[in-house]
């Protein structure tokens, strides 16, 4: 059965789309989430504690709810319908970014806040003010932030609710690993579904291993 799976060009198409969507979403969420988390860690303003609580809670956003919400936004009957984004990979990236952003931001916030205790005095002594200090710390702890990013990647590649609703699981266009597994399960082809599941897990494992190696090598160079 595995031969049948692997020789199927459609499988690689699905794998490619899964990676493209999830990696794009994680990249976007990282770009937005790291500065957001750092700003929240370093800033002092009324309502900060409340914002931290909300951000932490958003880590648990149900994917299917996010999918529904984005669907209503992107539907032709909705406010952003004119862009025709529904049932496209872009819509899936948007939905997954919304899911992953709180995870990366909340974990970054905690990491930066912990590190800020160590760095704050020295940075302020040098004349580094709030925002610049946050970015310096963010870059300095980049290796520990990798875990936050990998958590986001795990969430994105594992979820099915959001991409199913906003993508429509269209054959050859928006079908990804998780929606394909859901489809094969509902068709009763459980061995195939399980096989796809193993492929998905193997890919995510490979990504994590690669990230780990890169991190170890880079970390050794800067202590």
């Amino acid at each position: 059965m595995f031969d049948a799976i692997f020789s199927d060009a459609r499988l690689w198409e699905i794998v490619g789309l899964s990676l493209a969507v999830s990696l794009s979403a994680v990249a976007l969420a990282t770009l937005l989430g790291l500065p957001l988390g750092a700003a929240l860690a370093v800033g002092r303003f009324p309502g900060r504690q409340g914002l931290i609580v909300v951000l932490n809670a958003l880590m648990g956003l149900p994917p299917v709810v996010v999918g529904l919400f984005i669907y209503l936004l992107l539907s032709r009957a909705g406010p952003l319908g004119e862009f025709g984004l529904l049932f496209t990979p872009q819509a899936m990236v948007i939905a997954q970014t919304v899911l992953v952003l709180p995870i990366i931001a909340a974990l970054a916030r905690q990491a930066v806040e912990d590190a800020w205790r160590e760095y704050e005095e020295q940075l302020r002594s040098l004349g580094v003010e709030g925002w610049g200090g946050a970015l310096t710390v963010l870059w300095d702890i980049r290796f520990s932030l990798l875990t936050a990013v990998l958590a986001g990647l795990g969430r994105a590649s594992a979820e099915v609710g959001a991409v199913m609703i906003v993508g429509g699981n269209i054959d050859g266009v928006t079908r990804v690993m998780t929606t394909a597994i859901a489809l094969e399960t509902s068709k009763g082809d459980l061995p195939l579904a399980l096989g796809l599941g193993i492929v998905l897990i193997a890919i995510v494992l490979a990504l994590n291993a690669a990230a780990h190696v890169i991190k170890e090598v880079a970390q050794r160079r800067v202590g």
Partner: protein, 236 residues
């Protein structure tokens, strides 16, 4: 651009949760003599240093420099050096960048600073793998590169062995010789005698005595200082 010294403290107090840590300290610190803040553990030396450097705001009283724009004109070395995860050279260059030094000059100035403290060989090594003594020297190089008017040092050798301590003291003397105002806290009598021109004795958050080194050590005026010098008051 006028000098930032003298630094004036007027009736400065600092309290946390109702507990007074610094009580009504009034001081004027002029350019020239290196000043040692001496006192037992818990006397409030670190807090006083941070108040002067501007890292803490006083609960009451006034702290005033002679002119504005003082952040770039003073530097501080802490008991535990904090280095970025970069090379030794990059850490010094970072401080120069923050100070607004143009990119073209940063590397050269950083190299010179490392040379000054004897860390030229370590320029490309990650700062965090250096020994405690080397990291503290790196902190001094970082301060040196900025050519500050005032250098604060908060118990800079408390965690170092005698050999590393000697190296640090040599560099501090170089700062002094170059015209930087050295303000250093320590609980080591020997260090105070070796490096200081004048001593300010701090006891339970209050300044009890201020005198030149030659007059303080043979005969402290206050009974608390006398006990401290005799080794009878290791803590408060």
């Amino acid at each position: 651009m006028s000098a930032i010294l003298p630094l004036r403290l007027e009736e400065v107090s600092y309290a946390v949760d109702g507990r007074a840590i610094i009580e009504r300290v009034s001081l004027v610190l002029e350019a020239g003599p290196s000043t040692i803040i001496l006192g037992a553990n818990g006397a409030g030396k670190s807090v006083l240093m941070r108040l002067m450097h501007g890292l803490l705001a006083p609960s009451s009283g006034r702290i005033a420099w002679n002119s504005k724009g003082t952040r770039r004109r003073q530097a501080m070395v802490f008991q535990r050096p904090v280095m970025l995860r970069r090379s030794a050279l990059a850490n010094v260059a970072y401080a120069l960048k923050v100070a607004g030094v143009p990119a073209a000059q940063r590397e050269r100035l950083a190299q010179e600073a490392l040379e000054e403290v004897g860390l030229r060989q370590a320029a490309q090594r990650p700062a965090r793998v250096l020994s405690g003594g080397e990291q503290q020297r790196l902190a001094l190089a970082r301060a040196w590169a900025l050519h500050p008017e005032v250098l604060f040092l908060d118990e800079p050798t408390a965690n170092l062995d005698p050999g590393a301590t000697r190296e640090i003291e040599t560099i501090i003397k170089a700062f002094d010789a170059a015209g930087t105002k050295v303000i250093m806290s320590t609980h080591s009598l020997g260090q105070a005698r070796r490096l200081g021109d004048e001593v300010i004795y701090l006891h339970q958050g209050r300044v009890l005595e201020r005198a030149p080194v030659d007059r303080f050590f043979p005969q402290p005026a206050s009974p608390e200082a006398a006990s401290f010098v005799k080794g009878e008051l290791p803590w408060v």
